[in-house]
Amino acid sequence: MAASSLKVNGHVHKVDVPPETPLLYVLSDELQLRGPKFGCGLAQCGACTVIIQGKAVRSCVTPISAVTNREVITLEGVGSPEKPHAIQQDFIDEGAAQCGFCLSGVILSAKALLDENPKASDEQIQEALSNVLCRCFAHTRMMRAIKRYQARRA
């Protein structure tokens, strides 16, 4: 078993796990991060989402070997309770959650899209969120928060 080196939220970590280990388990078990979560383990819900090179990536099906030398950003790496990122502040202001388990998928998928394409159409936003689930169905508030963030970026 070779130690893998990985950069998460600005810090470099060495972890001694098999290369096929899903990134999610390294983030949540080895590094004890709370942002990315095990939702379905099937890349179908989004709860495990992280950002790698600007793209929203499902960490539950991404082997650790695929992310060496690339920086991984999790929901807690985007902003902090003391200094939330703009999109996190928009979600806070809109009260856009109930249980909040889904938020890595919701916030990071929207952020990745709008940072790359600030002028994304409503259809493009819907497309980016077409495989993101929120089972409390805080949809209307989440869409308001996302539109708020988009307005800031414009």
Binding site: M1, V17, P18, T21, P22, Y25, S28, D29, Q32, R34, G35, P36, K37, F38, G39, C40, G41, L42, Q44, C45, T74, L75, E76, G77, V78, S80, P81, P84, Q88, Q89, I92, G95, A97, Q98, C99, G100, F101, L103, S104, G105, V106, I107, D122, Q126, E127, L129, S130, N131, V132, L133, C134, R135, C136, F137, A138, H139, T140, R141, M142, M143
Partner: protein
């Protein structure tokens, strides 16, 4: 002799508490819990004020509640309640939820009962009111000023002359040594400063920044990882477990088999996941399942346990003499809780005691269940609630807590168990399938003169409670029996009207023993419920049976109003007598700019895109919240696709504790109800459940064209506080079904309203 630990000992000594209390680490820091308690750890006495509240020497308040936050805001609103009654700022209050060592046993957090239980004149609210009155009394004595001349400002009692004394000076660090007073006066809603305001939920910043601690994030020193191997078919039993089949996987600690329960424990989660996948288990097939396509007929043929809720005994005569009789049959599928986070728990079971970090809604009942599974006494099992993913009822939170306990006991180490989505979909306690027969007699005047309703639901297992671990899959696999239906004929209704399942339509007078407690005026009434044994586990799913029954009642009411060419709102109001349900119907209709006319909408084309509106209403559980919902939908008559465009909900739940929190519940409930109405259905083949992931179980994703949802909140400061989390969801299927009818003239009597089913109904219009 067993050592009886005081609550203070627990708080001081248990390193575990550091883990659980860090659940609120992002919330501004408070004094650590310091309740001066001396109650038996498993018998926190709810009659004692000190069981509910403690004031620390710095004046901060710790409150203990047996009702937990499942992601719907109960943490925030209970904190508001304590702050309000004690006249302190919300930042001074720290709430400890559901821990069998320190909180009172308030059973299960469910059924829209937390607000009625803790916000009226008992329990947490009454304890806080008792504490405030006691503190005023102490201040009066201390300052030498009559109590009625004192005021409180953020925990400081003051007199007109300028004398002041703080709570910390009066009681800080000491116990009250008082009983909770039944006569302590609650602060009136007209005086409210903290309650009644939209305090932003206290978990919000931590959630949005990924720092909130869910049960999935619990790490206990020495913790290892477990996974379960569930029977691949319903009722399959273990023949042989080949432990050697996972010997090649590094890190595997143990293969655990107990009766039909099978699991694996490994050092790391990935190793446990691999071992669970690779473990060779020979299963003896189960008895097979009834054919799904014929299931609604199958249900009606089973022996049943019957309950007659109302019977005026003149229904058959009134139906015979009616100018018209209308009949319809409605059906509703099994549905899943489908939490976005598959359930997780951590257990540390040692030889003589155990600690379980669990997302259960039922801390104390789970303590007893784990006692039965492990053989430990209940008093030596501590269950600490740590929030999981939103559950919406009995998801796998309890069963995974049992899984963790069994696996931890087998390896003598703390074990974290993460279920997979397939584990959970395969064998959760699904919401009940239902068949509901409706029949009314319409008089020559166009009014309903008799209503006959007969329903079938299915049941197997359910909440484990204090004595039935077999009510969920893990307990059953480990050898405990689930509760099943014992067939029994219905007795005549006696006592009071029991409408907790909304089996009785709101339009009935609901007369039992000469007292009419229904919300309506139809006096010729008969409601008979049949419960039959379910081939699949069942359990409460948000608005259990209330949703299914209301779907049938409210769509059928629409059918009747269409038959007599009446406006659906006016026709409802004509048959309702309860002022509060009338109030919400009128408020929703007004806000929606409802145009008075019969359905269906005249002039709509019979193909292409059409729009329509529908209404539904409910007196939830008879009297636990009143709601009405107007839906406006677009129906594509070519594809069969239904697109809700706008909803208007009106809600009366008594005095409103947190208006924005209530709106959030309404909005989520409406859309969750929409998802359940349009797509969600458990499917199975002849042996097993086949809807086992998000491709085969159809939920609405975030990337939909989200409808507009408007809420009208009818504040009733003088009324008792009722539940509010299950009202809006109860109405969505009916309001959408009625809107589809209004748009197209096609009536769909089976949920979900899939595109194929819509097209079928359109084709059947003739």
């Amino acid at each position: 002799m067993k050592k009886e630990l005081s609550r203070r000992d627990f708080l001081k000594a248990s390193g575990a508490l550091v883990v659980s209390f860090s659940a609120s680490s992002a919330i501004p820091p408070f004094a650590t819990a310091q309740g001066p308690f001396d109650t038996h750890p498993s018998h926190v006495n709810p009659d004692k004020l000190d069981s509910w509240l403690a004031v620390a020497s710095d004046g901060s308040v710790t409150a203990y509640t047996g009702k937990c936050d499942l992601g719907q805001g109960m943490y925030t609103v209970q904190t508001q309640l304590v702050a309000e009654e004690l006249c302190v700022s919300i930042e001074k209050v720290k709430l400890i939820q559901c821990d069998t060592s320190v909180t009172p046993d308030q059973g299960t957090t469910s059924g829209s009962q937390s607000t009625p239980t803790n916000f009226n004149t008992r329990n947490l609210a009454q304890a806080a009111a008792t504490a405030r009155e006691a503190l005023i009394g102490m201040a009066a004595q201390s300052l030498g000023v009559p109590a009625d001349q004192l005021t409180i400002e953020d925990g400081v009692v003051g007199a007109k002359g300028g004398q002041r004394v703080s709570y910390s000076e009066l009681i800080g660090g000491k116990r009250f040594e008082l009983a909770v007073s039944a006569t302590a006066k609650r602060r009136s809603p007209s005086e409210w400063k903290v309650l009644g305001t939209s305090v932003p939920s206290l978990d919000r910043v931590a959630l949005m920044t990924g720092t909130f601690e869910f049960v999935h994030n619990i790490h206990v020193p020495g913790m290892v990882h477990g996974r379960v191997v569930r029977p691949p078919e319903i009722g399959a039993t273990v023949e042989k477990v080949d432990e050697m089949s996972v010997q090649h996987i590094p890190g595997v600690i143990k293969v655990v088999a107990r009766n039909n329960f099978v699991g694996v424990v490994a050092e790391k989660q990935w190793e446990a996941a691999q071992a669970a996948k690779d473990l060779k288990v020979s299963w003896k097939p189960g008895p097979g399942l009834p054919v799904q396509t014929d299931f609604y007929n199958y249900m009606r043929k089973q022996d049943s346990r019957d309950v007659m809720l109302v019977n005026s005994k003149d229904v058959d005569d009134k139906l015979k003499s009616a100018a018209h009789v209308l009949k319809a049959t409605y059906s509703y599928p099994y549905q899943a809780h489908g939490s976005i986070g598959s359930s997780c728990a951590v257990a540390d079971v040692q030889a003589d005691h155990a600690t379980i970090w669990s997302p259960t809604q039922s801390a104390y009942p789970t303590q007893h269940g784990i006692s039965m599974l492990t053989g430990l006494t209940a008093d030596s099992v501590r269950v600490i609630f740590v929030r999981g993913s939103g559950c919406y009822g009995l998801n796998a939170a309890d069963t995974v807590s049992f899984d963790a306990a069994l696996l931890s006991q087998a390896v003598h180490k703390p074990v974290r168990v993460q279920l997979t989505r397939q584990d959970e979909f395969l064998s959760e306690n699904y919401g009940s399938a239902c068949v509901i027969l409706q029949q009314v007699g319409i008089g020559a005047n166009g009014a309903i003169q008799a209503w006959d309703c007969e329903s079938w639901s299915v049941s197997l297992g359910g909440r484990p409670g204090y004595e039935r671990p077999g009510n969920v899959i893990t307990g059953m696999l480990a050898g405990f029996d689930p509760e099943t239906i014992t067939p029994r004929a219905a007795a005549a209704p006696t006592g009071e009207l029991r409408n907790g399942s909304n089996a009785v339509p709101s339009y009935l007078a609901g007369c039992v023993s000469g007292k009419c407690a229904g919300a309506g005026s139809v006096r010729s009434e008969r409601v008979l419920m049949h419960a039959v044994r379910s081939p699949l586990f069942t359990g409460p799913l948000r608005s259990p049976l209330r949703l299914q029954n209301t779907f049938a009642h409210e769509c059928f009411m629409d059918e009747v109003s269409a038959h007599v060419k009446a406006d659906p709102v006016e026709f409802r109001l004509q048959h309702l007598s309860d002022a509060r349900i009338v109030g919400v119907v009128k408020a929703a209709a007004q806000k929606a700019n409802w145009v008075t006319r019969p359905s269906p909408q005249r002039g709509n084309a019979s193909d292409g895109m059409v729009t329509g509106r529908g209404i539904a209403c409910v007196a939830y559980e008879g009297a636990n919240g009143y709601a009405a919902l107007v839906a406006e939908v677009e129906v594509d008559q070519v594809s069969g696709r239904v697109q809700p465009k706008r909803f208007v909900a009106a809600l009366d739940c008594g005095p409103i504790s947190n208006p924005d929190g209530l709106r959030n519940q309404i909005e989520g409930g409406v859309l969750q109800g929409t998802s359940r109405a349009l797509g969600e259905e458990i499917t199975w083949d002849n042996r097993k459940v086949t809807s086992i992931d998000w491709r085969s179980y159809h939920t609405l994703p975030l990337g939909i064209e989200a409808p507009i949802i408007e809420s009208v909140l009818l504040d009733q400061p003088a009324a008792k506080a009722t539940g509010a989390g299950e009202t809006a969801i109860t109405l969505a299927a009916a309001a959408i079904g009625n809107a589809i009818f209004d748009a197209t003239g096609a009536r769909i009597r089976q949920v979900p309203f899939t595109a194929d089913r819509v097209k079928e109904a359109l084709a059947a219009r003739g």
